[in-house]
Subunit: 259 residues, 2 copies
């Protein structure tokens, strides 16, 4: 296996640029992931093109050599450059980004739509919960944390490629499109909303749960575009729930019937 010893290697620089720039990821249709467990997991739903491993990582996990794509050994100081955080496991993969569009949205499906959810941890967590509870896709508005950024990938634990992710631009227009297909769109909103316990959980023509940013919640335009609103009722002992938690409870409520 060829060994890369220079941090200036073109393939390494390309991978680093994928990790740091959302625009570059979009233009290239590729992303970089890190992790001994995450990279094999991502292979279940995305094409691995290039794998970079340190010698010690390959010793610990010889099965990494069975993964597809071009493989390179990298020296530790090169691995340090590929990593976005100080601690890493010495395993990095360049993957093709699966591309999905609004046209795939279908009557009877189950969707999650996020509006300007900026925290990568929350976006990753919600992807993981949506995949766990049998959702058919996730719509992301402009301004959401990038699904294929290193932090989000870690939080989603690979779910990013196990559920279709659709860049949906402005949500009110996307929601109008979903409603045109008969899908009930429910906005998560604290005020003037019905408690979740009162919301039906089965929607034969489909349902879309719409969740806003941690600080501001949904825009008025997006709430107005939805079919109705729901909230998670709480005691007055807390002011709010964490966005990942609140969203996951909604997803659980609207889960696939067989679960």
């Amino acid at each position: 296996m060829e060994k890369i010893t220079s941090r200036e290697n073109a393939k390494v620089k390309y991978a680093c640029r994928l990790a740091s720039s959302g625009a570059f990821r979009r233009a290239e249709g590729r992303f970089l992931a890190e992790g001994r467990k995450l990279c094999p997991e991502l292979c279940r739903g995305a094409e691995l093109e290039t794998l970079f491993c340190t010698e010690s990582a390959l010793e610990k996990c010889p099965e990494l050599s069975e993964l597809p794509g071009e493989h390179y050994l990298v020296e530790d100081h090169v691995a340090d450059k590929l990593a976005d955080v100080g601690t890493h496991q010495g395993v990095f993969g360049v993957f093709r980004t699966p591309v999905h569009t609004l046209e795939e949205v279908k009557t009877g499906g189950r969707y999650l739509a996020l509006e300007r959810v900026q925290d990568p941890g929350n976006v990753g967590t919600l992807l993981r919960s949506a995949a766990a509870f049998g959702f058919d896709g996730v719509l992301l508005s402009d301004g959401c944390a990038s699904v294929f950024a290193p932090k989000t990938l870690r939080a989603s634990m690979g779910a990013a490629v196990r559920i279709p992710v659709i860049e949906a631009g402005k949500l009110p227009e996307a929601i109008a499109l979903l409603r045109g297909k008969g899908i009930t769109c429910l906005a998560a909103a604290l005020y003037q909303s019905q408690p979740l316990s009162a919301a039906a959980s089965g929607y034969p023509d489909g349902v879309c749960v719409v969740i806003g940013s941690e600080g501001q919640g949904l825009t008025d335009e997006t709430i107005a575009a939805c079919t109705g609103t729901v909230r998670i009722p709480m005691t007055d002992r807390v002011e709010s729930l964490n966005a990942g938690i609140a969203g996951s409870i909604l997803l659980w409520h609207f889960r696939e019937e067989s679960l």
Copy 2:
């Protein structure tokens, strides 16, 4: 207001020791919290003894001066010492730790028990969800993250003093005590368990949700001590849910009836 200019001030050193040592917190029955929003929030459920503020924090939030206790201005370099992380808001409070014991557990109540949940973020999140959903108390086994450590306090957003927290030692014994009071104790376990959807949500004599550590789950002894087991059913697209998420969904299922 007296101004503290030295990092060697005895009150400052005492506060720092509360932040860094669980044993010292327990011995003293006090804890240190940081945050412009968190300190006033904690006053709703714990006695504030000493408040340290930087001048700029007090200018931004003059209402801090209305809080109870002794108040001190601190210079920025003293505030940096009081903070456990690099970024802080210049507001620190020494509070009396509310003390609760197993004797307070009552038939008909709703409880959460955690066994060796080590991540402070998960413990804090679960406290917040338990308070939100009307639980009457949280039991912590040996080996759980300390509820009154700075990280856990931040994650719980003050919920740590809005719901009784009980140090319960070894869970099997605590669970036997709860069952003696007629409380149904349900262990969260992935295998040989009933799906959550099949579990009743109302328990007139009380219910306790029992959750284990992120990596290992519950010990066999604790599962055996419980009345039954539950799991959150999932598709095979993910391996697991985040512990804070899974626990919060369980808490939502067993929430106070009025919610």
